[in-house]
Amino acid sequence: MKEIKLFLGPQHPGMHGNASVHMYVEGDIIKRSYLLPGMLHRGFEKSMERRTWMNNIALIPRICVPEPDTNEMVYAMNIEALAKIKVPERAHWIRMIILELARLSAHLMAFGGIGGPTGLYTAMYWAQADRDRILTIFEEITGHRVYHMYIVAGGVRKDLPKGIENKILDFLNDLESRLPEYEDLVLNNPTVRARTVDNILLPAEVVWELGVTGIGMRSATGQEYDIRKVAPYARYEKVDFKVPTATYSDAQTRMTLKYQEMYQSINIIKQAIDMMPGGKVRAKVADGSALRWRVPAGQVYSAVEASRGEYGYYTVSDGNTMPYRVAVRGASFPQGLLGVEKYMPGHRIDDAPLWFDTMGICSPEIDR
C-alpha cells in the first residue's frame, strides 16, 4: 500500500495546543510519526534572560496555558532556594490551594478534552463549564482567569480575598457531587470504552525508557511516583491524600486515574482551607525596589507534580538582577517528542489525538 504523509495540527480540535504531528500512514495505520514543535515558540527561556527576576512573572505563566501556576511555583521555588528565603507559613498553604485548583482545572480540561477525539462533545462542554467556575475563583483571587501571576518568589502576591474560602468550598462540594455524572458520561460510556480500553498502551519499560512522569508513570508502574509524596513542597507532607496507581496502562486507565485524582485534589483543598494559618503571605526577595532585586549566584533545579507529570525549572543566577539562564522541563517533553517518534507508529490515525490526550501532552511547554 502506498505511504502518504498527513499532518495532525497545528490547528485541529483534537490537538493540544499548536503543535503538528507529521505522520506517514499506510491505510489508516501510522507507520512513522514525528512531532513538529515550535508552532508557538516564543523564546521564553531567552526572554527571561533579558528581564528582571520580578518581571518574568509576566512571562512564565504563559509557558503552560491550562496550568500556569506550576510555572510560577517552580520559578519562585528556585529563587527562594538561591536567595535562602523563608516563605511565610500561610503562603505555603495558599500556594497549595492554588496549585490544586489549577490541577483540577487542567484535569477537567484534559478529561473533557477526550470529547474531541471521541466525538463526545458533551464531556468537553461540561468540563469547560466547570473549569470556568474555577477560573472565576482564580479571577477573584489573582485578578485574572488564565494567567494568574500570583505565586511569586517569597510567597504570593496578595492575601486571599475575604470570604473566598466559602466560595471555593461551595464549588468543590458541587463538583464532587457532579463527578459521578462525569464517570457515567465518559468512563462508563461504552463508545468511549471501545476506543480506550486496551488501546494506546504504555508499558512500564517505556515509561523508564522515555522518562515519562505523572499519571503515565503511575498507571504503568503501580508505584506512588508523585513528587508531592516523594519530595514534598509547599505543605503536601501535612495533608492526607492518596495517589491513585495502576499496573496496566491503557488509555482508559489513565483517564480513570485522572478522574480519581480530581477527588484527591478536592480533598487536599478542603484540608488546606481548614488547616491554613493566618499571618503574612510574602517575604522579601531582596533589598530595594523590584527593579534592583538581586538573587545570589547559584544553580538550582526545582520540580513540582503538575497535572501531566514532573514540571521543573533549572535556574542559574550569576548574582545579578536578571536570571543568567532558565531552562524549562515541561512534563510533556519525553512522550511528546521521543514518544511520538517511537510509540505512536502502529496506532490508527483516529487514535492519534487520543494518544495525545491521554499521554498528557501540552505543546506550549515543549516549545517554551
Binding site: 547559584g298 538550582v300 526545582s302 539562564r325 522541563r329 521521543l338
Partner: protein, 171 residues
Amino acid sequence: MNKDIKNLVADIKSRFELVGEDYPKDDQAALDFNSRDIHSVLAYVKSQGFRQLSILSCVDWIKDNQFQLVYIVFNWETGIRLQVRTRIDRSNPKFTTVTSIYPGAKYYERDVHEFFGVEFEGNPDSYKQLFLENWDDMPPLRKDFDSKAYSDRKYPVREYAADFSKAGDKK
C-alpha cells in the same frame, strides 16, 4: 544536608574525580566532573536508583569560553536529585551522546544542539532542525545572540499616530 546525599556523595567521590560540589537544596546536590567521566558517572548513578533523566540542559559561560552541560537525574525512591555537570570547550562544542544510558536524552540533545550548537556524537538526529524552522542565525540561546537586535532587524517597529503631548488631544 540530607544524610542519604552525604553517603551518596562520599560514595561517588571514592569512585570518580569530583571537581566541584554545591548543595542548593536539602535534597539536591550539584556535582561537577571532568567531561571524560560523565558517561561512567551517569551509568553509575543510574544503577544507584537515579533512573530518570529529568532534563539535559546547557549554560553558556561565555566569559570562560565554556558550555556547561547539566544532566539532572532523579531517584524516585529517595526523592534525591542530582545535577551532574561538566564543562566543555565553547569554541569547538562537541560531546558524546548519553542515549545509550538514558534513551530519553535523544531529544534533549537535539534541543541543546539547536539552541547552543553543541554536537552530540552518536546521536544520529542531533543535527536536525527541531523547533526553529528556517533559522538563519547563530544558535539563539548563546549569550552573544542578541534577541532584541534580531527582532529589530526582522520585524517592523510600530508607529503611533496619536500625540498625547497636548491637552485635549484625545479622551
